[in-house]
């Protein structure tokens, strides 16, 4: 650590340059930057400039606190990572030392310099310019108080899979109200489709159903299935959410869930959702017997009455007169303080992988189809059979990484496929005794008891071949291949191309973000990564928060993960929300605009600019006023005021212009001799 003392100016500014280990120091000569700041920015008020290994560590923070007290600093500039990560950390440090927290400025020399540039000299020069901008800007900072707003105690949970179920139960059990919104007719999500769960092979329904029942009967949970969130307004602590409750055409208060309507409905449809296209349901249906809630829905697209105007069999036969063809969609508005998104995943459309023949070759199945095939409650009552519905396979090939770790499809590892494929191998061995081949690139069994499961599947006699399958074909070339599916692969450990005839192929297809993940994220004001998964606030230290305060994420919406991790995230998100609710209020950035009435000319240019209706015009005095409770702080009116009568905190004209000047101090020589813009 080096220390450089400069001489005193009007404001007493301290500059702190972080090494961030080698994250910054690897590219930027941080010691030289600190030395330079002490020497060259002393005319700009810098009285001390230091560099330190990790400014955000407690020792780093103490360094700043000590200087505030001992050197009488009035402003602090920390050159480190993005303010979105550590602004709060350093503001609190300032506050501890008795300095108003808003007199601290963060300069991002990691995300904006060391991580994005390779030329060390240029990156170092840029860091100096960024810091100069920060120093010039911080001089104009004003002491501010955060805006405190109360937090509404209710929570919205979007998605009724195991992540959403877990989160909802945790919060409801703590005594706070929850709205659980689910798009499908029942909660349960993908887990409800599975037969067994790895590595312990307990039955998915046996462990999931009790939780579903708890959700359905919990006094603190309002369950809204067959519903979707259509609009979100407001901000942390105070969201107003609009939910479309789609018409079920069933009167929930009268329906007993007896199932007669489903039994009598004459219209059979392929169930593309719950049965993954492998089984049938009726036009009026609950997706599965243990569905929560128990009320069915009428699928308008396929209902004979809705399409052709006659039938109404369900209505005639319903013992409680619960069928209501006149029902319409309802829009509900609820107030919540926090939101948890647990919207889950889709599976990759296996038809896209042409070389595996799914959709063309009857006996190529997806993993989700296989789950239904092996499920005792599935379309074959758990019989593992070929597409003809009767023949048991003698040989089964299970292909890992189908569409994952592949730049032609999804570049990431879907995380669950290795264990899922091993589970399938075990089930096939156990139920049919068929010969099983698993084709893999790498076996990734990294969680607790997972590798032991791999060992067990090897003991079961599954044959593992290291090689990514090149193609699945029905074009027989050699004796013994006729009538079979042939898996062509390089057995990379033997170094030979092999053709392995099998009866059934199971594709462990990758997990994908929901097809509408981007729209949903946009609706909640959060972002998705390029892959489409919701971006968490910090991948390690804040994995369930998002960049938008009050919106949390849990489960596969954030990225592919197995059931244990999903449940852990659901509980973690709930814990974060509960902590928020217990605080009762939250501090907001005091970024607000206000009008200096003495300078307002009454031109009304700003009047039409505010989408939040925060700008009011007083006809009597011919002046404009801004309602601070409604102002969101965008600053559009500040930029528009020709009289300069509107000013905005945190991003005032003075602050921005001073920052520009600072950013360009090193190149100011190139500017024209006469200063063209009056500041």
């Amino acid at each position: 650590m080096t220390q450089h003392n400069g001489h005193t100016g009007q404001e007493r500014i301290g500059v702190y340059v972080c090494h961030c280990g080698s994250n910054i120091a690897g590219t930027i000569d941080v010691e030289a930057v600190a030395l330079w700041a002490a020497e060259h920015l002393n005319h700009h008020g810098v009285v001390v400039a230091r560099d330190y290994k990790f400014m955000c560590s407690s020792l780093g923070q103490e360094l700043i606190e000590k200087d505030i007290k001992e050197l009488g600093l009035t402003r602090v500039v920390v050159a480190a990572c993005s303010p979105h990560l550590h602004e709060q950390t350093f503001r609190i440090a300032c506050q501890r030392a008795g300095l108003n927290p808003y007199l601290c400025e963060l300069v991002s020399i990691r995300e904006q310099a060391s991580w994005v540039h390779t030329d060390k000299k240029a990156a170092t020069e840029k860091a100096k310019a960024l810091i100069t901008g920060g120093v010039e800007r911080v001089a104009w900072h004003e002491p501010l108080e955060p805006l405190r707003v109360p937090i509404h105690p209710a929570t919205l949970v979007v998605g009724g899979g195991i992540a959403g179920i877990q989160a909802a139960l945790e919060i409801a059990d703590a005594g706070f109200p929850v709205y659980l919104v689910e798009r499908e007719p029942s909660i349960g999500g993908h887990m409800a489709q599975f037969d067994k769960t790895f590595p312990t092979m307990d039955c998915a329904a046996c462990i999931l159903t009790p939780r579903m029942v708890s959700v359905g009967t919990h006094p603190n949970i309002t369950l809204l299935t067959w519903s979707e969130v259509t609009d979100v307004q407001g901000y942390v602590g105070n969201f107003t959410v609009t939910i479309r409750k789609k018409a079920r055409y069933i009167k929930e208060d009268l329906c007993t869930g007896c199932g007669i309507c489903q039994e009598k409905c004459p219209k059979k449809v392929i169930d593309e959702v719950f049965e993954a296209g492998l089984g049938y349901r009726k036009a009026v249906y609950t997706p599965f017997p243990q569905a929560v809630p128990k009320y069915p829905v009428i699928d308008r697209e396929n209902c004979t009455y809705f399409q052709k105007g006659t039938c109404r069999a369900c209505e005639k036969l319903c013992p409680t007169e619960a069928i209501d063809f006149e029902q319409t969609d309802e829009l509900l508005t609820v107030e919540v303080g926090n939101i948890i998104l647990a919207t889950g995943f889709d599976i990759l459309d296996a038809r896209r992988i042409g070389q595996y023949g799914y959709g063309r070759l009857a006996n190529v199945f997806t993993s989700l189809e296989f789950e239904r095939l092996s499920n005792a409650a599935g379309p074959t009552n758990g019989q593992i059979v070929l597409r003809d519905g009767v023949t048991q396979p003698q040989t089964v090939g299970i292909i890992h990484c189908a569409g994952s770790r592949d730049r032609n499809f999804n570049n990431y590892c879907s995380a669950i496929c290795c264990m899922q494929s091993l589970k399938f191998a075990h089930l096939v061995r156990e139920r049919t005794g068929a010969t099983v081949y698993n084709f893999y690139i790498d076996i990734r069994t990294t969680a607790k008891a997972y590798d032991e499961f791999y060992q067990r599947v090897l003991e079961d006699g599954a044959i593992l071949i290291r090689g990514r399958v090149a193609e699945v074909t029905d074009a027989a070339r050699l004796p013994g291949e006729e009538g079979k599916l042939i898996i062509q692969v390089e057995d990379t450990l033997a170094g030979k191309q092999r053709r392995i005839p099998v009866d059934m192929v199971v594709l462990s297809v990758g997990l994908e973000p929901r097809h509408d993940a981007k729209e949903v994220a946009h609706r909640f004001g959060i972002s998705c990564s390029a892959d489409g998964w919701i971006i968490e606030k910090h991948p390690k230290l804040d994995p369930v928060a998002t960049m938008t305060e009050g919106v949390f994420v849990a489960g596969c919406a954030q990225g592919p993960k197995d059931i244990p991790s999903t449940v852990a995230q659901g509980a973690a998100a709930a814990a974060r929300v509960l902590a928020r609710i217990q605080q009762k209020e939250i501090a907001l950035e005091p970024v607000r605009a206000s009008v200096d009435e003495s300078r307002c000319s009454g031109c009304r240019i700003c009047n039409g600019l505010c989408p939040f209706n925060a700008i009011i015009f007083h006809e009597d005095r011919m002046v404009t006023e801004i309602n601070p409770a409604l102002c969101q702080g965008c600053g559009t009116c500040v930029a528009a005021c020709p009289a300069g009568a509107i000013s905005g905190t945190v991003f005032s004209n003075e602050q921005v212009l001073a920052q520009i000047e600072g950013l360009l101090l090193d190149v100011a020589r190139r500017a024209p001799a006469t200063e063209p813009v009056p500041v």
Partner: protein
């Protein structure tokens, strides 16, 4: 009429004479106007690039530069040979991606007073133009003699489908463009699983055992599906599968007889054109028996007894589990 610059390539001048003859015979009917690139040279096939690097791209670069000079109204260069198509497209694409290569190619071209700016012309294959520009419907409208009852194996080969840099095909593994086109001619198109497998390429000249094995796989595949005829769109594929079929039969002691003709020839037949104008009759494996079965008689047809095997169709099962729905499957069934 849609106009395109035309790169015929060496094969169409010689071994694939029937391909160009049939193409020229049908072009008016489907509204295709072609302007040949003047003084074009060989594309180098798969050989030049195995010996020289810059020269291989400069060789193709000369053709692109000549084509660019003829750009007038259209900037699309059409090739009918798969290897020519791929070499032209690949050179343009690599020159776009790799500034160093582009500069070297242009330095070389400069020695001949030529220049080529990558991206000036767009290279496309004949099938792509017929299916995607002129349209299947325009083809269907000209059919006067539907090829009803003719079981055809659509064979694309490699280099037209792969690598598909500009996403021209619905699926690089199992494209359907040719299938749809042949269905529009009234033919019965088999779901040929080998449709994009390799014909052996230059292996017929290098290692005949390897080549014959690759040829056998394709011919065997077509025979397994009881195809009357296999349709190709590449001179190399046609040559290997047709001219070497008897050699292959001798090598494996088999007796396959699968005629191989160009898709343009089949289009011409469906359009009611004369066989001779379509270059038919120059094949090694005689297509006449297959064609006469659907009532198309070629001149000097020698009577030949053909054993017609009853074709086992894939059974449709009613009691089974539903099949996944395929996008565009309705269209493919037409």
């Amino acid at each position: 009429m849609s106009k395109y610059l035309f790169y015929p390539g060496c094969s169409l001048q010689r071994t694939a004479r029937p391909y160009i003859d049939s193409l020229l015979a049908i072009r008016e009917l489907i509204g295709l106007e072609l302007e040949e690139i003047e003084d074009w040279n060989c594309c180098g096939a798969t050989e030049y690039v195995a010996v020289h690097h810059v020269a291989a791209y400069a060789l193709v670069g000369r053709n692109l530069a000549l084509a660019a000079r003829q750009v007038d109204g259209t900037h699309t260069v059409m090739a009918a040979c798969s290897a020519c198509y791929l070499n032209l497209a690949k050179t343009d694409s690599y020159m776009r991606q790799d500034a160093h290569l582009a500069q070297q190619v242009n330095t070389a071209l400069d020695a001949g007073g030529l220049q080529y700016t990558p991206g000036t012309v767009k290279v496309r294959h004949l099938l792509d133009i017929i299916v995607n520009d002129l349209g299947i419907e325009a083809v269907r409208a000209k059919v006067v003699r539907p090829l009803k009852g003719l079981r055809v194996a659509p064979y694309y080969g490699c280099m037209i489908a792969r690598p598909d840099r500009d996403n021209r095909w619905d699926n690089v593994e199992h494209p359907l463009a040719l299938d749809r086109l042949l269905k529009a001619l009234g033919a019965e198109v088999i779901d040929f699983p080998m449709k994009t497998h390799c014909c052996g390429g230059h292996m017929t000249q290098i290692n005949q055992a390897s080549a014959y094995e690759l040829i056998r796989r394709l011919i065997h595949g077509a025979a397994e599906y009881h195809a009357d005829i296999m349709v190709t769109l590449c001179p190399m594929c046609q040559l290997n599968l047709d001219a070497y079929q008897s050699e292959m039969n001798r090598y494996f002691r088999t007796n396959y007889h699968v005629p191989i003709i160009y898709f343009t020839q089949l289009m011409g037949l469906a359009f009611g054109l004369e066989a001779e104008a379509l270059g038919l009759g120059k094949e090694f494996v005689d297509p006449r028996p297959a064609l006469s079965r659907i009532g198309i008689e070629l001149p000097a047809a020698e009577p030949e007894t053909v054993t017609v095997v009853e074709q086992p169709r894939r059974k449709k099962k009613d009691s089974g589990l539903p099949m996944p729905r395929m996008p565009g499957s309705k269209e493919a069934d037409e």
